[in-house]
Symmetry: C2
Subunit: 102 residues, 2 copies
Amino acid sequence: MAQLVVMYKTPKDPAAFDKHYFATHVPLAKRTPGLRKYEVSKGPVGTPAGPSAYHLIALLHYDDVAAIQQAMASAEGKAAVADLQNFATGGVDILIFDTRAV
Amino acid sequence: MAQLVVMYKTPKDPAAFDKHYFATHVPLAKRTPGLRKYEVSKGPVGTPAGPSAYHLIALLHYDDVAAIQQAMASAEGKAAVADLQNFATGGVDILIFDTRAV
């Protein structure tokens, strides 16, 4: 399996972020081809030392990194990426990697 | 469920990191109480724009954030945290959050 981890830094208006994220962005991202599972953080995103700089973390699961690249290159993926500017006002960090259980 | 995401920045000696991580750190972390699943990145950790600053990402699954806090406060958790200085020479970012499927 592989993970697309999308880490949203705290936005200017968290309530507006949440409204747009769940009403608009999640449906867009769910349309990307090859998506197997989609999880989001629930409640605060912390660190061992206290609060983090992040408001929300999304974990999107695909079969492998090639599938993530294909998803992002698809029309649906481009629409989801283009939508980021509509709500991700704090900035966003994205990581892509294959995974294996240990 | 909840996630403990451990993001290791590229260390000074990646081969030494990998050797210590899999031979010593994984067995220590696996002993933490409440651990349900343990995944690591396989191959490079990328971003949509190219390589990331990270060498390895670990995804440790527990029932909830309270279980993660209990795991980190346990003797086994303290041993795993104390071991970080033995190999995580590039630094480490840690995030803790509950998750839900969307």
